[in-house]
């Protein structure tokens, strides 16, 4: 028995060293010269391979930074520190960018989602969206199965009362949640000011129907548009939308938000 163990160990060791030797030799012979700058820039990147920059991996992004003059600010996940280091390394200027945040365009909590039928299929938003209106009367609202929560690589989304709640500290604005939502409720916006006031509803239904099936949606009354002289809010397709670039008027925006009859204008 001891003999068998010994031969086993010896022969496996022999094989392992043999193949390791062949590979080591091949590695030397077939070595591909890589631009050392790529590796150095890669070190600054977050290494999470989220894909928000449009490249396959962080390494791929580093390569295009060096070789094809890609914009380093396309990486939304970069921290302050890393961003400065990369800009410094590449000799580029920071032309001022702001964090991106997801806006969840639905306010209907669990008891506000009026059921149209009993949905008993796969418990994902994607699955539910394929069957009529996912068991909900509202064809536009959040179905609350949390596909966005699962899609978030940073754990920044928690489903509370069947609605996604974003933890701003963890969110990097990578937009994976927006892509995961089958109804496109989540928009990604640049947050330039202290608070960003937005309309938390996607329903294009008329006022009567919104009141009947939800009660916390945009009823397209147009009060926000009338009150905002500078065009802070604009009505389109029976729905109000904020104009992000005009949110400098923070007080006015807050005032208008408080006047909304269904309180659907929220801030983040």
């Amino acid at each position: 028995m001891e003999n068998l163990a010994l031969t086993a160990v010896l022969s496996m060791a022999f094989l392992a060293f043999f193949f390791a030797g062949v590979l080591a030799f091949a590695h030397k012979k077939l070595k591909v010269e890589e631009d050392p700058r790529v590796l150095e820039v890669y070190e600054f990147l977050p290494h999470v391979n989220c894909g928000a920059c449009g490249h396959v991996s962080c390494h791929d992004f580093a390569e295009s930074l060096i070789l094809s003059d890609e914009d380093p600010l396309k990486c939304r996940v970069l921290g302050e520190d890393a961003r400065e280091k990369i800009l410094d390394y590449l000799g580029k200027e920071d032309n001022g960018s702001f964090p991106f945040l997801p806006l969840v365009r639905c306010s209907a909590g669990k008891d506000k989602k009026k059921p149209a039928a009993d949905y008993s299929g796969i418990r994902t938003c994607r699955g539910a969206a394929l069957v009529f209106s996912g068991g909900m009367e509202c064809e536009y609202g959040c179905m609350g199965f949390g596909d966005c929560e699962k899609a978030c690589p940073f754990g920044a989304i928690k489903m509370v009362d069947a609605l996604p709640v974003i933890e701003k500290e963890k969110c990097t604005g990578c937009a994976k949640c927006a892509a995961a939502c089958p109804r496109g409720i989540i928009d990604i916006a640049e947050k330039k000011f202290d608070k960003l006031y937005y309309v938390a509803c996607s329903s294009r239904d008329g006022a009567l129907r919104v009141r009947q099936i939800c009660g916390v949606g945009c009823i397209a009354c147009g009060i926000c548009e009338k009150l905002s002289k500078e065009g802070l809010f604009v009505m389109k397709d029976a729905l109000s939308r904020e104009v992000v670039s005009k949110q400098g008027k923070q007080e006015e925006a807050a005032n208008i938000a408080s006047k909304c009859p269904t309180k659907v204008i929220k801030d983040i």
Partner: protein, 195 residues
Amino acid sequence: MNVEQIILIFVAASVTNNFVLTYFLGICPFIGVSNKVESAVGLGVATTFVMTMAATFTWLIYHYILVPNGLVFLQYVTFIIVIASFVQFVEMVIRKISPALYKALGIFLPLITTNCAILGLTLFMVLRDYTFIEAVIFGLGAGVGFTLALVLMAGIREELEFADVPDSLKGAGITLILAGMLALSFMGFGGLISG
């Protein structure tokens, strides 16, 4: 050394008992890399190389190291070492020769290691008691068969780009249905060789 026997083994491994379409081994790269004929050929050639070399070396190791020392129980570990080493080697070669192909294959190149068709090949080889030449031919045939299936599928999928596929079947759905149809048509070769 019977020439007829060898031709038979080659045809059996590549067509009638095609690894992908008859044994359903190696489905993952079959679905994953069959988007474009070009990358399908690349992966096919790489896999063929690994399969042939794996068959050659595992046969030698099995018959000259494992069997004489009574270490047959180590065959799985040994085979995996051989396969993994060759995949590493192929990866280096492809990266050196064709960076474009290296990029196109992406994760599926190192994943040749976990391609069950290759481990299946080495285990079949042991099970069927092939001689050395037979084993090498078997490996080559299996690789050619894998390439054939991959390229056929890629050709069909390129045409599929222009087809009007129902929404619910787009992507993986229609691909699996096609794979099934391809497998059915390969069953037609079943009577070609008996045994």
